[in-house]
């Protein structure tokens, strides 16, 4: 269970007394357990509240576009490296925008935005234009070229809406300079939408004078193919100046005024924002760190509201965490260290004692193999996010029970039944380095990593306990960004069950029932391309209101060779597909990379989410008619590479669900404390016109370790992915339990990522 600090404490004397009891048992004496009367210290949760005294808010404020800047216009400021900001803003004619901005490093920030607002239609005969609501996704990127100097401003260059349908498409170069400690002045030049007000001809001349914006609505195909990089229009066309000031009245309160160069000129598919003044005014209030509230008077005619929430993975609210203290190392004297052998008859007792000690740490002892001078321990850590910390804790416990002659500890962390690597630790160095300055670097110099050893002669404990686990709980699901609906929630009750026959073979099932009951499809959306609706049909799934089978599969994983792993999963794998999935992964323990291959046969499930398989089509009148089956063989070759400096890349090449061939490229910014923020894009041989709006599959993903917030150690994480639009091109089967992300924990460079936790 998760170790909450208000749960009944595991008695700290346990690890001291158990070996004592063991030795006493061997000597035939009885040890009475001493009782100590202490009062518990104040709960740590309460202490943290005391400690988390409000710091004054700092760093740049945000715009209604969710990027750092003034009100609509950017500044050259960068947020603190790593900062994630979610901004929601609203004004009457500009509509709603929700933006996620990530400061990738000191200089580069990227944003993903979802907007619901009105756009103009085509020109009518009477010269007016109709107005329609649109759901729009857009991406921004900003790069800060220079830092602010004593006399020179910080300068940044940026692209707004460079990968969407281009409703806000602009490029800019902007400078920001602080004057004194309370005033910041910004001036810049904009192109595109930002080059409209009082724009002048592009001084670069030649081909830069005209901005040839492609009509993203492909009349022939009848679809909108926005979403491509429009490199040929960047920094082209008219250019216009903008600027503004920001005055910091108190650390929590700032006032902003700007001259916006966005004129919101009417035109087909342009945002229908009513503007009567280029001047915008606003106030920004930060009641506490991480929260910014903004109000503004926009366009000379309307009130704007904004809320921004920021969080920085680099700043953990629980500091170094609230793990309980580890057992101190039990040291040996010089004479004891000289021992060359031990009484082999004691091994079963040692094993039993070690299993008990590891249980205190939430770690299962899987196997033990002992020679005269070496003890090899295989274990599965169920508590610590950091496998390095688990290794440190296991080694500490080993000092409590291992005979003096044992000089080398070989620790083999295992995950999901698969041994990941073998870390050799010299016991004498481990003892000598405890609590000394430089011990972290020193111990990493001393340890050696190798592939996990053979199963034999480990005295394996293959059967987990308990074998059967269940759960009943509420679920909340969102189908996001379908073409016609930004968000459609679903909630109800889910039943989970898992039976682990062995550590390598498990049966997993989940059924659920929606509280919404039977319901109609949310959108009457018909994808008119030539491909099967392999993902766009997802909105028709699970609408019957009955019990639905979310998944039911059997999974088997095993080690095929020292650093080669295999997985076979079969059954109802996900909401939309059932089938068989096989995977092989080669992950050398001392390398920064791994290679994998996956082959799947899958069949489209019936939309009632029962046991059947069927393909449906939507008739003109909206009826769904069963037209047969759809099955497909998909597969990928995958390369994984830990670039270093917190970046991780993945490339998957292969065949996707609609039968299209292509590749997915992913890049993640990984923080050593477990946060991951990344993006991916997939290009396949499905033409953009067939893919439909968005042109190709792309999105962002986020993984947050739960211990970041709760402080106590846990392996749980929260992961979420956002696709700009879920379509049928570049769609992959969602196979549970893919190997790499769990097995990479045993690779040496991953162990080094959390090196600071070895001694904790």
């Amino acid at each position: 269970m998760t170790a909450w600090h208000d749960s009944p404490a595991t008695d700290f004397q346990d690890f001291q007394l158990r070996p004592l009891l063991l030795e006493a048992h061997k000597a035939g004496t009885k040890v009475t357990q001493m009782t100590l009367k202490y009062a518990r210290t104040t709960s740590y949760a309460a202490l943290l509240t005391v400690l988390a005294a409000p710091l004054s808010a700092e760093g740049p404020t945000y715009t209604s576009f969710g990027t750092t800047g003034l009100l609509e216009m950017p500044t050259a400021e960068s947020a603190d490296s790593g900062e994630l900001a979610i901004t929601s803003s609203y004004s009457d004619t500009a509509g709603y925008r929700t933006t996620l901005t990530f400061q990738l490093n000191d200089r580069i920030s990227g944003s993903f935005r979802y907007g619901v607002f009105d756009i103009y239609g085509s020109l009518r005969a009477d010269g007016t234009r109709g107005i329609a609501t649109t759901y729009d996704r857009s991406f921004d990127i900003q790069y800060r070229l220079t830092n602010e100097g004593r006399y020179l401003p910080a300068v940044a260059v940026g692209l707004r809406d460079f990968l969407g349908t281009g409703r806000y498409s602009s490029e800019y170069i902007v400078g920001t300079k602080s004057i004194g400690s309370n005033l910041k002045v910004t001036a810049g030049l904009g192109w595109g939408r930002m080059g409209e007000r009082n724009g002048v001809s592009n001084p670069l001349g030649g081909s830069f004078e005209t901005r040839d914006e492609p009509d993203v609505f492909d009349e022939d195909a009848g679809v909108n193919t926005g979403g491509q990089l429009s490199v040929e229009q960047w920094f082209r066309g008219d250019i216009a100046p903008f600027g503004g000031i920001e005055y910091t009245a108190t650390p929590n309160l700032t006032f902003k005024a700007e001259y916006s160069s966005i004129a919101y000129e009417p035109g087909q598919a342009r945002p229908a924002v009513q503007v009567s003044s280029p001047l915008n005014f606003g106030v920004s209030y930060r009641p506490k760190p991480g929260v910014e509230l903004g109000a503004s008077y926009m366009y000379g005619n309307e009130l704007g509201l904004r809320a921004t929430f920021t969080i920085n993975p680099n700043e953990r609210p629980t500091f170094s965490g609230l793990d309980r203290a580890p057992a101190p190392i039990k040291t040996r004297t010089e004479a004891q260290r000289a021992a060359q052998s031990w009484n082999r008859g004691a091994q079963p007792a040692i094993r039993e004692a070690l299993a008990g000690l590891l249980e205190i740490e939430g770690i299962d002892l899987i196997g033990l193999d002992m020679t005269d001078r070496t003890a090899r321990v295989r274990f599965e850590n169920n508590r610590y996010r950091s496998e390095t910390q688990a290794i440190g804790r296991v080694a500490r416990m080993m000092t409590q029970v291992m005979p003096d002659a044992i000089e080398t500890f070989v620790l083999e962390p295992q995950r999901n039944g698969l041994p990941m690597s073998a870390v050799s630790l010299p016991r004498t160095d481990f003892e000598d380095l405890e609590n000394t300055v430089g011990s972290t670097a020193a111990i990493f110099d001393e340890i050696a990593i190798a592939p996990a050893g053979p199963d034999a002669p480990l005295d394996l404990a293959p059967v987990p306990s308990p074998k059967f686990e269940w759960g009943i709980g509420p679920y909340l699901d969102f189908v996001l960004f379908t073409p016609g609906e930004p968000i459609s929630p679903d909630f109800g009750l889910a039943f989970d069950a898992e039976y682990q026959a062995t550590r390598k073979l498990s049966f997993v099932g989940r059924t659920s029932i929606s509280a919404l009951g039977a319901r109609d499809p949310l959108v009457d959306f018909r994808d008119s391309n030539d491909y099967v609706n392999v993902r766009t049909d997802q909105t028709y799934f699970g609408l019957d209101g009955g019990l639905q089978l979310d998944r039911l599969y059997v999974s088997y994983a095993d080690r095929l060779a020292p650093e080669v792993y295999g997985r076979l999963t079969a059954g109802y794998l996900e909401k939309m597909y059932g089938g068989v999935s096989g995977e092989v992964l080669y992950a050398p323990v001392d390398r920064r990379w791994a290679l994998g291959a996956e082959l799947n046969y899958s069949k489209l499930r019936d939309q009632d989410m029962g046991f059947g398989f069927a393909l449906y089509e939507t008739r003109r009148n909206g009826d769904r008619v069963e037209v047969g089956d759809y099955d497909v063989v998909t597969g990928h070759l995958s390369g994984y590479y830990d670039i270093g400096e917190g970046y991780h890349a993945q490339l998957d090449v292969g065949r996707y669900l609609a039968g299209d061939y292509g590749a997915t490229f992913s890049l993640d910014r990984e923080f050593d404390n477990g946060w991951r923020v990344g993006g991916f894009l997939t290009l396949t041989d499905m033409p953009f016109s067939q893919f439909g709006e968005g042109s190709f599959d792309k999105g962002i993903r986020l993984t947050i370790p739960a211990d970041y917030f709760i402080g106590s150690p846990t392996r749980r994480t929260v992961s979420t992915g956002l696709r700009s639009l879920t379509r049928d091109g570049g769609a992959r089967l969602r196979v549970p339990g893919r190997l790499y992300n769990s097995l990479r924990d045993g690779q040496f460079n991953d162990l080094e990522d959390t090196s600071g936790r070895f001694w904790r």
Partner: protein
């Protein structure tokens, strides 16, 4: 969790408002619901006040078989008794019942575990020598565990000076002591540690800086 809350949680589980069962333990959704419930005051029930730090008596100290250390953290809002759990050369690791530990070297803290910003290791030998010599300069190194799970190192320049004599009370007994102050600083942090030494030169009370987030620990050796 009180029985009332357990009842509510069970009811909520049956109604599907929260999660239950082994697979859902530690579930974020359920955890969030539980956290939210904890913040909701029950009608007619005052929120429980934080218990006052407990008082250590001489009788409690005498009842324990070996050495004892009384530790006070967070400006006296938290207090615990600690006993030695392991000795590694001249480094003694003290543990409390609620599973925090402090490691001292001749009375000076060189490590903590189980606190929100742990001191992972420290080199304090020069400080100890200066104390024994009645004053002097020392270089200290502090290693803490960062938000990113890395070791963060601060090297500090310290000066140790006598601050006269003082009779202090340690768990009901008066002790005549010599008091020393150790002022340490580098470009990032600065602090002043205080030590009270008895006639034999042993540190019987000290107030020592651990990390900016944890602040000072006050250690008494009754």
């Amino acid at each position: 969790m009180t029985t009332v809350w357990q009842g509510i949680a069970l009811g909520a589980c049956i109604l599907g408002m929260t999660a239950c069962g082994p697979l859902n333990e530690g579930d974020q959704g359920a955890g969030a619901v539980r956290q939210a419930l904890n913040y909701l005051p029950l009608p007619g029930q005052e929120p429980a006040a934080e218990p006052a730090p407990f008082v250590v008596t001489r009788a409690m100290v005498d009842q324990l078989p070996g050495d004892v250390m009384v530790v006070e953290a967070y400006e006296g809002t938290s207090r615990a008794l600690m006993v030695p759990a392991a000795i590694n050369l001249n480094r003694v690791t003290w543990i409390s019942e609620d599973e925090a530990s402090i490691t001292t070297e001749n009375g000076i803290v060189i490590a903590t575990r189980g606190f929100p910003r742990d001191l992972m290791a420290a080199s304090v030998i020069e400080s100890r020598r200066a104390l024994a010599a009645g004053g002097g300069n020392a270089v200290r190194t502090h290693e803490t565990l960062s938000d990113l799970d890395q070791i963060s190192t601060e090297v500090l320049q310290c000066s140790i000076n006598s601050a006269g004599t003082e009779t202090i009370q340690i768990v009901e007994l008066d002790v005549f002591t010599r008091r020393f102050e150790e002022q340490c600083q580098n470009e990032n942090i600065s602090f002043t540690n205080t030590y009270w030494l008895d006639g034999s030169g042993q540190i019987v009370r000290s107030r020592q800086a651990i990390s900016p987030e944890l602040g000072f620990l006050v250690l008494d050796r009754p």
